[in-house]
């Protein structure tokens, strides 16, 4: 008791600071977790969370049995996979090339310009995509010069993933290279000297000194990326770019949850799908983080 009192008098201001923080996390992040029980209930807003009846795994089963299940899983995984295959190496390559630029000024200019799209809002980026990719938009005007017939890209399902992933690279390649440039800066310069005396040219140096030097960072980033494999890209961006004609390839779990839950107000069912997705994400993230910690003794925290 005395100990508690002494602790309070010593740390009371610290507890005072913690109070709003704890309230924030409780109210805005833990209350919704409590509300997750509606995934197992026949939720009706009138009866409330506690008053609604338990239905066990009914929503999960009907989701699994639904026509959409495999389509959503496929789309979610494919978007992440395409981002992994094409989006992941891009910043690494850029960082390696940036490091080879001899002129410091030129390098700074390239960096400043390639970081820029990262700061542009997703609404503006999507708005530009919608405009450029429309039937008479800039892209079709350009391909038209070569006699290629016009395509309304955003209503063709086959084009969706390409557009999503390539615009994602445009948005993030510069920004993503920062972490690798930092890793490159940490490489011991004497390694390059040694390579040079062994007669290694620039290309050989990249391959045998720079790349191995940043390999730990690459591996960590890759493992963390695996943790987001079932996240299926950015909900905001897909919502802005997809439409009912492209659901076949563009509809992922999170967009489906958004439509069923917030537009059709099918709360219990969509909360269940969200929970299903979040549990998978959780398991992937935790294992990704565990593995990266083991491999490198470095991890998210």
């Amino acid at each position: 008791m005395l100990k508690l009192l002494r602790d309070w008098s010593r740390h009371k201001y610290i507890y005072l600071m913690l109070l709003p923080v704890v309230i924030y996390y409780l109210v805005f992040l833990y209350f919704p977790m409590y509300g997750l029980q509606i995934a197992f209930k026949d939720f009706s807003p009138v009866k409330g969370i506690l008053g609604s009846e338990w239905v066990g795994f009914k929503h999960f089963i009907s989701f699994y049995d639904s026509y959409y299940f495999w389509r959503l899983i496929r789309n979610t995984l494919l978007i992440s996979l395409y981002e992994l295959v094409f989006g992941f190496p891009a910043p690494i390559i850029l960082a390696l090339l940036l490091n080879e630029i001899r002129s410091r000024v030129f390098k700074n200019v390239v960096q400043s310009i390639t970081y820029l799209p990262h700061f542009i809002s997703i609404v503006v980026v999507s708005g530009m995509l919608v405009d450029f990719l429309s039937g008479n938009g800039l892209i079709n005007q350009l391909t038209g010069l070569f006699g290629i017939p016009s395509v309304s890209f955003l209503i063709v399902p086959e084009w969706f993933r390409t557009i999503y992933v390539s615009s994602g690279i445009w948005q993030g390649v510069g920004w993503g290279s920062i972490i690798y440039l930092a890793a490159i800066a940490g490489i011991d310069p004497s390694l390059y000297e040694a390579a040079k005396t062994d007669g290694a040219g620039r290309f050989k140096q990249i391959l045998h000194v720079t790349l191995p030097g940043i390999m730990p960072t690459i591996i960590i980033m890759l493992i963390l990326r695996f943790g987001t494999l079932m996240a299926g890209g950015s909900l905001e961006k897909i919502l802005l770019l997809y439409n009912s004609t492209t659901y076949e390839t563009a509809d992922v779990i999170s967009t489906f949850v958004y439509r069923r839950g917030l537009l059709q107000m099918d709360y219990g069912f969509s909360a269940a799908i969200g929970l299903f997705n979040n549990v998978i994400n959780f398991l992937l993230l935790v294992s990704a983080n565990k593995i990266s910690r083991k491999i490198n003794e470095t991890s998210l925290w």
Partner: protein
């Protein structure tokens, strides 16, 4: 070494430089196109095919219509409120949390940290979060744009690491002088961490400026719409009609395109003006985040 630049090396340099120039062009050109098109004469633009290297014709008509559009000014005003109030709250709470959670010998710090970090791995998800906001009575209020994002856990971890690195001697000498924790935070910790505070201000500020999802989910009342939601209406769902009440029907189709471009410019200029500062600090923020293992 300089004397021995081989042909292979020279070719290598040329290839890299050419690649970089192309990369910069691809990155910048979409913005330049939008800029040129926004100043173009609508009827000239519609006839123009392919790249623009300068405006075709010149007209400020679309800018005039954009500025006359009440939704744009409402959106701008609301976004400014969300940026200023939101960022202030962000910085206050994040520094409270970072300070308190980086002190040694305080009870409950371990479990609280665990509970905070846990939210990075797992959340209630979209629907329970929405219903929670509904129960709290925050739908269709300005608070919906400020409270749910009051603390970014990632930023909190970065700031906490930075605070933990401040020498304990600074704190102890202040305590001997009778300063309490609030004074230590505001008069010692924050002043010695100005670079990180700048990074946080920019991270949070740009986040509020670009925030879209919360508005889409929580706001129905158009008077509360932030700029991004107004933009979505104009750029994605094509609701430029309200802006063109004074324009004759024949011209509507023509000017619709240039209005979009002018809207993009008007909504992005503040970020572009701040960009030189942003860039320097943002990069610093990413570095701090990545060194903190």
């Amino acid at each position: 070494m300089k004397t021995h630049i081989s042909w292979g090396e020279r070719l290598f340099d040329i290839c890299i430089n050419v690649f970089m120039v192309v990369l910069m062009a691809v990155t910048l050109y979409p913005f330049l196109y939008v800029l040129f098109a926004s100043f173009s004469n609508p009827s000239d633009l519609i006839q123009h095919q392919g790249l623009l290297l300068m405006p075709t014709g010149f007209s400020l008509e679309s800018y005039k219509l954009v500025f006359e559009n009440p939704m744009i000014s409402i959106g701008y005003f609301n976004t400014l409120i969300y940026v200023v109030v939101g960022t202030t709250l962000n910085l206050t709470l994040t520094s409270f949390a970072a300070y308190a959670l980086s002190r040694k010998g305080v009870r409950f710090v371990g479990p609280i940290m665990f509970a905070i970090v846990f939210t990075m791995f797992f959340s209630g998800g979209l629907i329970p979060t929405y219903l929670n906001m509904k129960h709290l009575g925050l739908l269709d209020t300005r608070w919906a744009m400020i409270l749910p994002s009051a603390i970014s856990t990632w930023n909190l971890l970065v700031m906490r690491t930075s605070f933990a690195g401040i020498p304990a001697a600074l704190e102890e000498s202040a305590r001997i002088d009778g300063a309490n924790d609030f004074r230590i935070l505001f008069q010692i910790f924050i002043p010695v961490s100005l670079p990180i505070m700048a990074v946080m201000t920019l991270f949070y500020g740009v986040g509020h400026w670009n925030a879209y999802m919360d508005a889409l989910i929580y706001l129905r009342d158009k008077d509360l719409y932030p700029l991004q939601l107004v933009l979505q209406g104009i750029l994605i769902t094509n609701s430029t009609d309200s802006m063109m009440s004074t324009v004759a029907d024949v011209d509507k189709g023509l000017i619709q395109e240039t209005i979009k471009y002018a809207t993009i410019i008007v909504a992005t200029v503040p970020i572009l003006l701040l960009y030189p500062f942003l860039q320097r600090y943002f990069v610093k923020g990413v570095m701090l985040g990545s060194i903190k293992e």
